[in-house]
């Protein structure tokens, strides 16, 4: 009895899957340009996507956000994509080493801020304050770009931090500050911008020496190389610069 019930279900499933497939087939005349971008670019690229699609009727920009090194791994392992925008040059180098990166160009830079909640429960005012006993501090792990920048600023300032957690990405750090679990965290200035309803950013001089460069490139195996080039031009052009600046990035 069970097997008899299973068969129609199975058939229905196969039909449903096939139907999905043919739907995608019908949509094929639309052109799609696939952009892989670092998670910190979510707001900016979301805005630029709308702009690009308005300027190019019939074109769908498919954005995929993630940690830069994840995206680099996807590209190296053959994910079909047209544009790659990374949050640091090291991950772009991974793609370049595989001979896929075209000519990367830096289109923005980002730097660290101390993020605290509006009421600043730990009374943090400087990088040195982060080393205080009893302060719950969360930072990025040194393996990820924001953690590398954290290591550099603390080295430069001669400060020794004892974080409660070294998170695998910057949004987790921000999340723990927003949730009130951490008194302070080291995040990018753009992250502070994105959550300015909840957190305040404290600038410190050492941050300028540990800037992250954001490179962008048309990928060598881009299925839509033309559209990809135009998207990169949009990012590097006036509209892109304005959107980046509004989000807290610095543009070269």
């Amino acid at each position: 009895m069970r097997a008899r019930a299973l068969l129609p279900t199975l058939v229905a499933l196969v039909v449903a899957v096939a139907a999905c497939g043919s739907d995608a087939g019908r949509a094929a005349p639309r052109r799609t340009v696939t952009v892989l971008a670092a998670a910190s670019l979510t707001e900016v690229f979301g805005r630029l996507e709308q702009r690009f699609e308005a300027d190019h009727p019939g074109v769908d920009v498919r954005l995929s956000y993630g940690g830069s090194s994840d995206l680099a791994q996807q590209i190296v392992n053959g994910a079909p994509a047209d544009v790659f925008a990374a949050a640091n040059t090291a991950t772009m180098d991974t793609v370049a080493k595989a001979g896929l990166a075209g000519k990367p160009q830096v289109f923005a830079t980002n730097e660290l801020r101390i993020a605290v909640r509006e009421d600043n429960p730990g009374k943090v005012g400087s990088l040195a304050d982060l080393a205080r006993d009893g302060l719950v501090l969360v930072v990025c792990a040194p393996q990820v770009p924001c953690g590398a920048a954290t290591a550099k600023v603390t080295r430069d300032a001669g400060v020794r931090l004892r974080p409660s957690s070294e998170e695998p990405d910057v949004k987790s750090v921000l999340g723990k500050v927003v949730a009130g679990e951490a008194d302070a965290g080291l995040v990018y200035v753009t992250d502070v911008h994105a959550r300015k309803d909840k957190v305040r950013g404290i600038a410190f001089p050492e941050a300028a020496n540990a800037r992250n460069d954001y490179p962008i490139t048309v990928l060598d195996r881009a299925p839509e190389a033309d559209l990809a080039r135009q998207f990169v031009e949009l990012v590097r052009g006036q509209a892109g610069r304005e959107a980046l600046t509004a989000a807290g990035f610095q543009v070269p």
């Binding site: 097997a3 792990a141 393996q143 990820v144 409660s164 957690s165 695998p168 987790s172 009130g180």
Partner: protein, 288 residues
């Protein structure tokens, strides 16, 4: 193995009329429709091929060095300790819970049972957030723990154990409750008729009835705790030696050293496979 089973002559004329006990299912075996083999094979491939890919991708020359690095051993040690602790906690809390669900007839049993199983279907990271909003420093209960006792749970190994228990305990509850319901209540009823007190009935009759589900439940709970990632990162954070378990270490290492991450993944696969294989027959037969 499976093909041998399918060609076994069918001893009983009709399929499963006599109820849903595990033993009946085995006796009442009809020939399988051939059409099932293809999706079954695909399903098997979907499980096995990615692991095979991991094995093939591994840098076997550097493997011994990669899995014995300080970071790897620290994470493995923490993982084994916390998974053991959360399995024990699951047993201490989940065992009685299973008994109450199977025998206690609490009001709203169906709803209760669904709620207990919630962590099985929730994304673990949601569980982690839920724990954070309960026990975090600003959480419902956590703020009083901090205020009254100066106890802070997030970012501690305790938080790791709680996160793992949250996701792992339902496996144990399901196994134990299944064992009790399969066994039926007649033994307890007889014991009670013969004058045994509730505690004696529980200890001498109910607990032995739990045993068939215990092995599979403990193994599944331990394996699930060992693999826990989402709830841990959300609730406990990630700090070497304190909260960074093996899955968190893998997640982090793949940022900088893919070979290292693959090596550690294999280590986790090996440990998990060892745990499951050790108790495979029970895990397969008792889990439902």
């Amino acid at each position: 193995m499976a093909s041998a089973a399918s060609s076994t002559p069918d001893p009983s004329p009709t399929g499963g009329v006599s109820g849903r006990g595990g033993a009946d299912r085995h006796r009442a075996r009809t020939a399988l429709p051939a059409v099932l083999w293809l999706p079954a094979a695909l399903g098997f491939a979907l499980v096995i091929l990615p692991v095979l890919g991991l094995v093939l991708r591994a840098d076997w020359v550097r493997l011994p060095e990669l899995v014995t690095s300080d970071a790897a051993l620290t994470a493995l040690g923490l993982s084994l300790r916390t998974a053991a602790a959360s399995t024990l906690l699951s047993l201490l809390l989940g065992g009685p819970l299973a008994v109450v669900l199977a025998r206690g007839r609490p009001p709203g049993l169906r709803v209760l049972r669904s709620l207990v199983l919630l962590p099985l279907v929730l994304p673990p990271v949601v569980g982690g957030l839920a724990l954070l909003y309960l026990l975090g420093r600003a959480g419902l209960v956590g703020q009083y723990l901090d205020l009254l006792f100066g106890v802070r749970i997030p970012f501690t190994t305790t938080a790791v154990v709680l996160a793992q228990t949250f996701v792992a305990m339902p496996f144990l509850v399901v196994s134990l409750e299944g064992a009790l319901r399969t066994a039926g209540e007649r033994y307890e009823a007889v014991a009670a008729t013969l004058g045994a007190r509730p505690w004696t009935v529980f200890w001498r009759v109910t607990v032995p009835l739990l045993l068939p589900g215990l092995g599979s439940g403990v193994v599944l709970a331990f394996a699930r705790a060992l693999g826990e990632f989402g709830a841990t990162i959300a609730f406990a954070g990630s700090l070497a030696g304190r909260t960074r378990t093996l899955p968190l270490e893998i997640y982090l290492q793949r940022e900088s050293d893919v070979d290292g991450a693959v090596a550690l993944s294999l280590l986790l696969v090996a440990v998990a496979a060892a745990v499951v294989v050790l108790a495979r027959p029970r895990a397969v037969e008792g889990a439902r």
